[in-house]
Symmetry: C2
Subunit: 242 residues, 2 copies
């Protein structure tokens, strides 16, 4: 944990917070904070700041926080992601948040099994918990917005503009040869990246996305697991945008 | 599994193989192969080919394999990786192999705990098993070479040339601003990428590596978990080399 994240509701008007959960345990046992120690804190959705440990007692800590003016910017990359297997998704949340994503739209696709949508890994509580873990790692406070879409076609045909604005649209698939570095550098600005399921987008889905302006990119001949592909692609797009 | 990998010792002179392990189960239950089905196979360390299922009986399959001439090239990226926590390393092997790495040197570093070296995740059997999983995913047959180094300094001072030849030397750390895309594109050819532990390389270690020609690169202000960083960096370097 490189940043201790506090929910706005946990902060008093004077900037005091009382914690007795995992975060308190982390501060006491891992960071070995004492009374008077200074910690880096962030207000979820808001600015970064610092906190002084005011008291430590029976696993409960009191913090006095001062926040700066600057809220981290919303990351410049969004994801349209075919819903991964629950086990893969559970592992992916924190990594997505750490790499930096503005919005994640999880969608059905031909090779997505229907039961994935009922898994615990998709639940807002689970997702938020894991996303905060990734933000704490990366020292960010902006929780990615998560949207779940059960039908790809109406979403792609009617809701893309509302969801992603004028972000440059890229679809990643083994069917395409163009490097995402070149596609991103051809026109800077926000990017939305469509990443298919294990086994790739279907011909129909690629066609559907291409007709709405998605430009195909690929990572070469090696077939990657969808979590590996998402992490590599987010790394590449962020670097190409820097 | 996109490629069924067979060890050379499992193949008769005529190219027959008899399997009754996880691979046989995968062929029967997941691929639902019948007698006469054709499968994509690879000889570990050798060429790709195809196999005809000759018999299926009580969980045992017999394959008749024909291999082409072409062995996949050794990937153009090597890793000098501060030994990750056992749980992280266990998850990383398959992803490293899938993304493509020629050689992995796992090393001690200031922020690496000594007990990591005793873990099951570092054992050659475990590593090979997981590496083959990643190769089967990516349709490759070249098992990355794995070397474990318990002291960083003598290795860096005396053994770099023997280990990595004239590969371009890059060190990744939050201390550096330069993008790996630009560093790689400045001079094409093999790359060796030094990735530090959770918490980064120490000042001493960065200095040691810089004195041996490692050029610093970074992924921006976000601090990543070491497995996330390795996957993102491998993706970026491979794309920049393409």
């Amino acid at each position: 944990v490189n940043l201790l994240l506090l929910e706005p509701a946990e902060l008093s008007a004077e900037g005091h917070a009382i914690l007795s959960d995992d975060r308190a345990r982390h501060v006491i046992e891992v960071l070995r904070a004492k009374i008077g120690s200074e910690l880096r804190v962030g207000r979820v959705g808001g600015p970064i700041g610092s906190a002084r440990v005011e008291s430590i007692e029976a696993g409960t800590i009191t913090l006095a926080c001062r926040f700066g003016d600057r809220t981290p910017p919303i990351p410049a990359v969004d994801l349209l992601l075919a819903l991964p297997r629950p086990k893969v998704l559970a592992r992916l949340w924190a990594q997505i948040a750490a790499l930096g994503v503005g919005k994640v739209v999880l969608t059905n696709a031909n090779k997505v099994e229907r039961y994935y949508f009922d898994s615990h890994a998709v639940s807002p509580e689970h997702a938020r918990h894991r996303l905060l873990e990734g933000l704490a790692q990366a020292r960010d406070t902006r929780v990615p917005e998560v949207v779940v879409v059960k039908e790809l076609k109406p979403f792609v045909e009617d809701e893309l503009d509302a969801a992603f604005g004028d972000a440059r649209r890229l679809i990643a698939d083994a069917a395409y040869a163009r490097s995402p570095i070149d596609a991103v550098r051809a026109r800077k600005g926000r990017v939305v990246l469509a990443v298919g399921p294990e086994g790739g987008w279907s011909d129909y889905e690629r066609d559907l996305l291409e007709r709405q302006g998605f430009v195909g990119v690929g990572l070469g001949p090696r077939t990657l697991r969808s979590d590996t592909a998402v992490i590599a692609l987010l790394g590449i797009v962020h670097e190409a945008l820097r």
